[in-house]
């Protein structure tokens, strides 16, 4: 099918700079996606008009040695239009996870660690998770807790995940580890609503609402969560469509200042915590 230029976001909304908190790259095992090579990833970045991003290679999620999935992408970054940051997936059930955490600290491009409890098979009350959270917290290293990769109804059989995270256990985890900067990513808006009271208790807690599937009237839903200063935006691309949700947020009733904060400023502020930590003695 011939394609034209009609997909230009500028046809329906002003383009805003976007610091994407949730961009994927690499080989997704169940479907062919763009972004499997650095060249293809550059095209994704250009199409989505990203100004910066935090990348998660699929390989670092699915490999038992997450660093082996990350390192090729650290090398490939030089061909991208900007230097990306990375989430390093850490599995608390793997022996010597401390080595992964140490690597995350050592590589300046690693913004923080990312947890996938439903795919790595541990509960949020697992003692090993508490240890990882405490260690990351002592480094003030951001922790991204990811609820899911896909809509639960779409999981392919080999990726059958554990049940969705009970939000009560998420809240308990956040209460136990309130020193670390946390990001809740790929939770639904209804799930985030349960954890919303935590926003006012922990200024280092952030909600990534890019893949939270708000219904119509985004502004109402997001304001109901409270604290727009703790809302960040990740596209989930190329696993997810990047354009529609961005249009919705851009056309919402937030002020220009609030939109700038959600699209870029809040994430920049959160990651500046990490920059300070990277320079600190361990």
């Amino acid at each position: 099918m011939a394609k034209g230029a009609a997909g230009d976001i500028a046809s329906v909304v002003d383009v805003q700079p976007l610091f994407d908190a949730n961009l994927f790259c690499g080989s997704y095992p169940f479907r062919k996606l763009p972004g499997q090579s650095a060249e293809s990833l550059a095209e994704v970045i250009a199409a989505a008009r990203l100004s910066r991003c935090v990348l998660t290679p699929f390989e670092s999620i699915f490999y038992r040695q997450p660093l082996e999935g990350l390192k090729p992408w650290l090398d490939a970054a030089c061909t991208l239009p900007f230097k990306p940051l990375y989430w390093l997936a850490v599995n608390p059930l793997m022996p010597a996870w401390q080595r992964d955490l140490e690597a995350a600290r050592r590589f300046s491009a690693v913004a923080g660690i990312r947890l996938f409890p439903r795919y790595h098979g541990y509960g949020l009350d697992h003692p090993a998770l508490a240890e990882v959270a405490a260690a990351a917290s002592s480094l003030l290293m951001p922790i991204n807790l990811t609820a899911r990769l896909l809509d639960d109804r779409l999981h392919p059989y080999p990726l059958r995940a554990d049940d969705p995270l009970a939000m009560e256990t998420v809240v308990e985890l956040l209460q136990r580890s309130s020193q670390a900067p946390w990001v809740l990513s790929m939770f639904t808006m209804a799930e985030l609503a349960v954890a919303a009271p935590m926003l006012s208790q922990n200024p280092n807690l952030y909600f990534d609402i890019g893949c939270s599937k708000p219904f119509e009237f985004w502004e109402d839903d997001i304001r109901a969560l409270g604290a727009p200063s703790q809302i960040i935006y990740g596209t989930g691309a190329p696993l997810y469509y990047h354009l529609g949700n961005r249009i919705s947020l851009s056309r919402s009733g937030f002020t220009a200042t609030e939109k700038q904060a959600i699209f870029t400023g809040n994430l920049e502020r959160m990651l500046s915590i990490d920059r300070r930590v990277a320079a600190a003695p361990v």
Partner: protein
């Protein structure tokens, strides 16, 4: 690029849109949403009784009366009711433009055949909810294979398979070879590749835009826009494919 004029073939007046003021707010702020087709507020849950179905259709008609230039509607039916065909004809006579089936019966069950035959007789399209869920379907929720089965049984019927079958990689394959089945992707599934596969597999003449409002309108429209299709293809998906499905008398003259 021409200004967008979008027909949204799959919407609901539920959740925030149970309040007409929310609908007015949406329509005022989104002139691109030129024409919404309501698939009712689905009163009565999964197995509505006759009064609840009638109330749902009356609600749709009330929205049409309030927003006559912007809103039309499907006639929602529970095929297991003895009055189903009568209620359907009441709805069409009042101005509804097609049949909406949800999860009270699977569309391939015999109990559904009389209402399908009534829709064929009236020359109106049928919007059929389908899903193939990894988490398990509801007991009487149609799978895409049900859609395929009934479309083969009634080749003269005009079927619109909702949600691309939910799990779109499964659903689109199920109906790929059936020229009397169109498909809409409406809803919250935002995983990339669905529209791309649909246009590849069905062609750009059998893909219809829907949002499942109160699901996010632009979240859905952006999935189409991201594809970078030609203006001709965009116009088909956003507008003319659905118009072509309608009975001549029901086609909007102003879009």
């Amino acid at each position: 690029m021409k200004p967008l004029r979008i027909i949204d073939a799959h919407t609901h007046q539920w959740a925030v849109f149970a309040d007409k003021r929310a609908m007015a707010r949406f329509l005022d702020f989104n002139p691109e949403a030129a024409w919404l087709v309501l698939a009712s507020d689905l009163q009565g849950g999964y197995y509505p009784n006759e009064d609840e179905v009638a109330a749902s259709n009356s609600s749709t008609l009330a929205y049409m009366a309030t927003f006559p230039d912007r809103i039309s509607g499907w006639c929602y039916i529970n095929p297991s009711h003895r009055s189903a065909v009568d209620e359907f004809r009441r709805g069409l006579d009042a101005g509804l433009i097609g049949l909406k089936l949800w999860v009270a019966t699977r569309c391939s069950e015999a109990v559904t055949f009389p209402i399908i035959e009534a829709a064929i007789e009236a020359d109106v399209p049928m919007l059929v909810h389908t899903w193939h869920k990894a988490t398990g379907n509801l007991p009487d929720e149609s799978y895409p294979m049900d859609m395929a089965e009934v479309a083969r049984r009634y080749p003269e019927g005009k079927f619109l398979m909702a949600h691309f079958g939910g799990n779109w990689e499964f659903g689109l394959r199920a109906i790929a070879d059936l020229p009397n089945v169109w498909a809409d992707f409406s809803g919250t599934i935002n995983e990339y590749g669905a529209y791309e596969m649909a246009v590849d597999l069905l062609g750009d003449t059998r893909v219809v835009f829907g949002s499942d409002l109160s699901a996010d309108f632009w979240g859905n429209a952006g999935r189409v826009l991201q594809g970078g299709w030609t203006e001709e293809t965009l116009d088909r998906i956003f507008r003319t494919n659905f118009i072509d499905l309608l009975a001549e008398r029901d086609r909007p003259k102003f879009i």
